[in-house]
């Protein structure tokens, strides 16, 4: 197999597995936060609905965390399986953040287990306090992974010897590289947004179906409020990130702006693509890119021609991904503004059903925005894996059969992804259906007697007591 095809296969596989994993990350980082907010509120105000919500979220978080754990394990294999050239040469330079992440993940796995399985066995206060480290650990984990990624974009903290091998490694400089701050803030806010909009959308569906009880209202309000406050901050953080990219990686910015030649009075192009070295199509707003970059119409912006063709990223993909991200973020900001305005005026959700419908649509939109942002930063880094120092094509494995491996991975992840959605959906459905008796074993009821469904009034059955099965605000009979 020739090297180019291998490279494409390896990049596809890495992009696919990372793209899958990144969808789970917001939930690993933010679901504990939402659950703790609901848990703390429920304890303080004696709110049963909030406590039930926290319990449900903790169980959903158990499933997403487990899938995130195994897909993350796969990534730690793939780093070496697919990119031995990267790890063999720079593994000791940027390995440390991964170690920190390993520890954070370790602690997170432990405390998540305690939180999920300790609901009824620990005292409510102890249980809540044992959950408190979770958001912090999620933050540390995200911090270290972003540190590794931002180092790949702005490699610092080492010198190269004559043979091109890194020496004199300074781990602090590696971790606190110039791109860390803006990437980290941007990503953490993105995680809050994705998790917030996705969780809220689930309860928006319930509200639209007429389940207008306290549980659904709280389930919508907690995550959506977090996301609505994160949204304006994200706009600022995103702007800040772009300005940093202009300084640190001008060629990436040229790809974002679809700018072939260094110029002043650069138009902002919405849509469009690069054909044969010329930007075509889309809508061009005159002078806008220059204006946004330097607040002057004659701001000079570096174009792709600053580097030889073999050092240029695929501009069309980067540009379109960036446009998709900004477009989605704009739509989400309008939604967040609508919500905040209604809350400010009336201390209530907007009354329109169209608001809830838009909130449902916000879930896929926020996920798309995150994936698009990730494509922008990662494809914009190409053809380098370590920016300016190591080409992706020099890092790739020489093992044959990567296309086969990629196909297998797609099939496996498709199955796991489908399973995840089905299972979460089944959990939600079950929460709406009261349960007479728990099934003991993983396969079949214990003992010879199969318990018949008792048709007793809810109030007399212990597990039914005060259980609002269908979510209409009353206990079912």
């Amino acid at each position: 197999m020739d090297g180019l095809s291998n490279l494409l296969a390896a990049r596809s596989q890495m992009a696919f597995t990372l793209g899958f994993h990144i969808l789970l990350v917001p939930f690993g980082v933010c679901l504990p936060l939402f659950a703790l907010i609901a848990n703390g509120y429920g304890l303080r105000h004696g709110d049963e609905a909030a406590l039930r919500l926290a319990r449900r979220w903790s169980h959903a978080m158990g499933v997403t965390f487990a899938v995130g754990a195994v897909t993350g394990t796969v990534l730690s294999f793939e780093m070496g399986l697919l990119w031995p050239g990267l790890m063999g040469r720079f593994g000791d330079v940027f390995g440390l953040p991964f170690m920190i992440e390993g520890i954070a993940f370790f602690l997170e796995a432990i405390f998540i287990a305690i939180y999920i399985f300790g609901w009824d066995r620990l005292s409510p206060r102890t249980h809540f306090r044992l959950g408190l480290p979770l958001p912090l650990l999620g933050f540390v984990g995200a911090f270290s992974i972003i540190a590794a990624n931002s180092w790949m974009n702005t490699p610092r903290g080492f010198s190269l010897d004559a043979a091109g091998n890194p020496t004199n490694v300074r781990p602090f400089k590696v971790i606190f590289n110039p791109a860390l701050r803006h990437e980290l803030v941007h990503f953490l806010l993105a995680a809050l947004l994705c998790a917030g909009f996705v969780v809220a959308s689930i309860y928006a569906v319930g509200l639209l179906k007429g389940r207008r009880d306290r549980l659904h209202r709280l389930g919508f309000i907690i995550p959506f409020t977090v996301a609505a406050f994160a949204m304006p901050m994200q706009i600022v953080a995103g702007d800040r990130a772009v300005r940093e990219v202009v300084k640190l990686q001008p060629v990436k910015f040229a790809a974002i702006e679809l700018l072939a030649e260094t110029a002043t009075h650069v138009p902002e192009r919405l849509g469009g693509r690069m054909t044969a070295g010329v930007a075509t199509g889309g809508i061009a707003v005159p002078d806008m890119a220059s204006m946004l970059t330097g607040f002057r119409r004659d701001t000079k912006i570096v174009g792709l021609d600053a580097v030889p063709p073999r050092d240029r990223p695929p501009a069309t993909i980067v540009h379109l991904a960036f446009d998709v991200m900004v477009g989605a973020a704009t739509a989400l900001s309008l939604l967040a503004a609508w919500y905040l305005f209604a809350w400010w005026r009336r201390r209530d959700l907007p009354r329109s059903r169209w608001f809830l419908r838009a909130a449902v649509a916000a879930a896929p939109l926020s996920m798309v925005a995150m994936e698009a942002g990730w494509i922008t930063t990662e494809v914009g880094r190409q053809p380098w894996v370590v920016y300016g120092l190591l080409r992706t094509s020099d890092a790739v494995t020489r093992a044959p059969g990567i296309w086969g491996s990629f196909a297998a991975v797609v099939a496996l992840y498709a199955a796991v992804g489908t399973g995840l959605v089905v299972v979460l959906h089944a959990m939600a459905r079950r929460w709406r259906t009261p349960v007479p008796e728990p099934l003991p074993g993983p396969y079949a009821p214990r003992g010879p007697l199969v318990v018949v469904v008792p048709r007793v009034p809810a109030s007399t059955h212990p597990t039914h007591a005060a259980f609002d099965g269908d979510g209409d605000g009353r206990t079912t009979a």
Binding site: H59, G62, V63, F65, A66, V70, G72, T73, V74, S76, F77, M79, G80, L81, P84, M87, G88, G91, D92, V93, G95, F98, M99, G102, I103, F106, A109, A113, I114, F117, G118, D120, R121, N168, V169, R170, T397, R398, G401, S405, L412, G419, V423, R430, T433, P434, V435, E437, P440, G441, Y443, P445, R446, L449, V452, V453, D470, R474, T476, A477
Partner: protein, 374 residues
């Protein structure tokens, strides 16, 4: 400094072998528990024992991999290049296993549970086999720096007799550890029948492991003589201790004593791996890459030590706390309000009461979502 980093790496691998190994072994017993009805009780115990701890146990593997690539980048690159296929298969097994396990807990229909259970159990056997096979390729000197996948002999690197031996040994050790641990769990659950059930399996798997280990010596003599020589020379005390622990655990189990068997079983595995470490020293990849030559930058190694110490003072107490809570039964599902974890199938609950002589009517209730009554 490099040796300390190597010891940290060894520690990660060993913890994974003991804790992760026990989890894989649990899957082995799930696989062999029989039909849905006859295997329901062992599977219930397995599910309960494994649920709170398996993710934390899995992290040891990530820890070992990350230490390997941070402290010994060249070694990591060489291993991953040469063993692309078995390690890809192991990674796929890890995904399948974890996902199937958590999904099985939530799915209610028998057919779905059967499928997910089979996937979980099968991948629990396949994964340690491939990890063991990869280790076999390393110890027999078939992984060398600069050898990439696709070079001549890259398939035979992990299908050699040594690889097959270590793959089989990994599966058996895991099964043995799990059986011993499950005896404790059954005893804590107060289920004597299950305790006997797993005691029998612990004895059988201990005997099988010992047998394979003894046969394995002759395999090693033919296939990896250099490794065998070092194992019996540098690693001799550890191998002796490992055998003693194994025999001790077997004897105690056979005479119905539960006490101390867990420590002995874990000790057998730990000493076995200590023997492996001693036999490999001073090589990371025998006999082409020494630990010193594979080591990364000195500053990084110092930080690896620092971060590991931080891990030791934070993660280890937390882990101990988790295990204590788990062992005291403070982390079990199905407590007073058991709503989220269980639900009836939405259709056909068959009533079949065999506890009475008099034949009872067989009724079926078709269950639908209850409608709110107005």
């Amino acid at each position: 400094m490099t040796t300390i980093a190597a010891v940290i790496l060894w520690f990660g691998v060993t913890c994974y072998a003991v804790f992760g190994g026990a989890d894989y072994g649990v899957g082995f017993w799930d696989l062999t528990a029989g039909g849905a009805r006859s295997g329901a009780r062992p599977r219930a115990l397995i599910d309960q024992a494994m649920s709170p701890v398996w993710e934390a146990n899995n992290v040891w593997l990530i820890f070992a991999l990350v230490v390997l690539w941070t402290a010994f980048p060249r070694g990591y690159a060489a291993v991953m290049s040469a063993l692309f296929v078995p390690l890809s298969l192991a990674a796929a097994g890890i995904v399948l296993r974890g996902a199937a396990f958590v999904f099985r807990k939530t799915v209610q229909e028998l057919a779905g549970r059967r499928l997910l259970g089979a996937l979980f159990a099968l991948s629990s056997v396949v994964t340690p086999f491939f990890l063991g096979a990869a280790l076999g390729a390393v110890v027999s000197g078939r992984v060398r720096v600069g050898r990439a996948g696709g070079d001549p002999g890259w398939v035979s690197a992990w299908t050699s007799p040594t690889s097959l031996l270590l793959g089989a040994l990994a599966v058996l050790c895991a099964a043995f550890l799990a059986a011993v641990f499950l005896v404790f769990d059954a005893r804590r659950a107060g289920d004597e029948a299950l305790e006997r059930y797993f005691r029998r399996r612990a004895i059988a798997s201990a005997a099988a492991t010992g047998l394979v280990a003894i046969v394995g010596l002759s395999v090693l003599r033919g296939d990896a003589p250099l490794f065998l020589q070092r194992l019996l020379y540098q690693g001799r005390p550890f191998i002796f201790f490992s055998a003693a622990c194994g025999v001790g655990a077997l004897t105690l189990m056979a005479s119905g004593i539960t006490r101390a068997t867990r420590a002995l079983a874990a000790g057998a595995v730990v000493f076995l791996l200590a023997g492996w470490g001693a036999a490999q020293y001073p090589y990371l990849l025998p006999s082409s890459l020494t630990i010193a030559a594979a080591a990364g930058a000195p500053a990084t190694l110092r930080w690896v030590l620092v971060v590991s110490l931080v891990a030791a003072v934070t993660a280890v107490p937390a882990l101990a706390f988790l295990f204590i809570l788990d062992q005291r039964g403070r982390l079990e599902e199905g407590a007073p309000v058991a709503i989220p974890q269980a639900a009836p199938p939405r259709y056909a609950v068959i009533v079949e009461d065999r506890s009475h002589r008099r034949p009872t009517a067989i009724r079926a209730h078709w269950w639908r979502r209850p409608r709110p009554q107005s």
